[in-house]
């Protein structure tokens, strides 16, 4: 199996803005991770687990694909 090169991007910053400028700390609290972990995910420095990704989408009430995109 050959590795597929790509970048995992996200729209968390935009979605936080659209949800009343939700803070990273509040999102982290609702997802069950620290503020620093949300900051790392948002900056693309850490790829969350599938469960955390679904939880983030659930908080914003949008499908997972609206939060995370895989760009090749």
């Amino acid at each position: 199996m050959t590795g597929m090169k790509g970048i995992l991007s996200n729209r968390i910053r935009t979605l936080r803005f659209l949800n009343g400028e939700m803070s990273q700390a509040e999102l982290g609290q609702r997802v069950g991770v620290t503020r620093q972990t949300i900051a790392a995910i948002e900056a693309g420095k850490y790829s969350p687990s599938l469960e955390a990704a679904f939880r983030i989408a659930h908080v914003f009430d949008v499908p997972l694909a609206e939060v995370f995109q895989w760009e090749t």
Partner: protein, 141 residues
């Protein structure tokens, strides 16, 4: 700075402040190989005691300045960083134990062996906490 990065810094500082001087003293004034060597044993005891003291006071201070973070359980990123750090330190420790337990006994004895074992444990600890710090630095948002 995440709470767990602060505690990793604390371990690194405690290690540098105690085992740094310990190995400098040992290198400058090698102990007699005979066991037991009470002077060398007491030097090690003082080093370990001071390290525990620094860690105890440091943890109390960190808990006092950020009580909420101190009681927050580790999240998935914290656990992933911890796993990575421990597995890396494990390989360092295994390599060290092979060196100290399997190779060094042919050429060294007494306190040389004991200090080499202490050094390997210290290096493994530095690798573990160093990787924790580096991982948090790299993933900083």
């Amino acid at each position: 700075m995440p709470y767990r990065e602060k505690t990793a810094w604390l371990y690194l500082i405690a290690m540098a402040a105690t085992f740094g001087p310990y190995f400098m003293i040992v290198a400058a004034n090698p102990p007699r190989e005979a066991l037991p060597n009470l002077r060398q044993l007491s030097l090690y005891a003082v080093t370990a005691g001071v390290q525990m003291l620094i860690l105890g006071v440091g943890h109390l201070y960190l808990r006092r300045v950020s009580p909420q973070e101190a009681h927050t359980p580790p999240d998935e990123r914290d656990l992933a960083i911890t796993r990575h750090a421990i597995s890396s330190a494990y390989y360092v420790m295994i390599a060290g134990m092979i060196l100290v337990g399997g190779i060094m006994p042919f050429t060294a004895r007494g306190w040389s062996l004991v200090n080499a074992a202490i050094a390997m444990i210290a290096i493994a600890q530095i690798v573990q906490h160093g990787i924790v710090v580096l991982s948090y630095r790299r993933q900083q948002g």
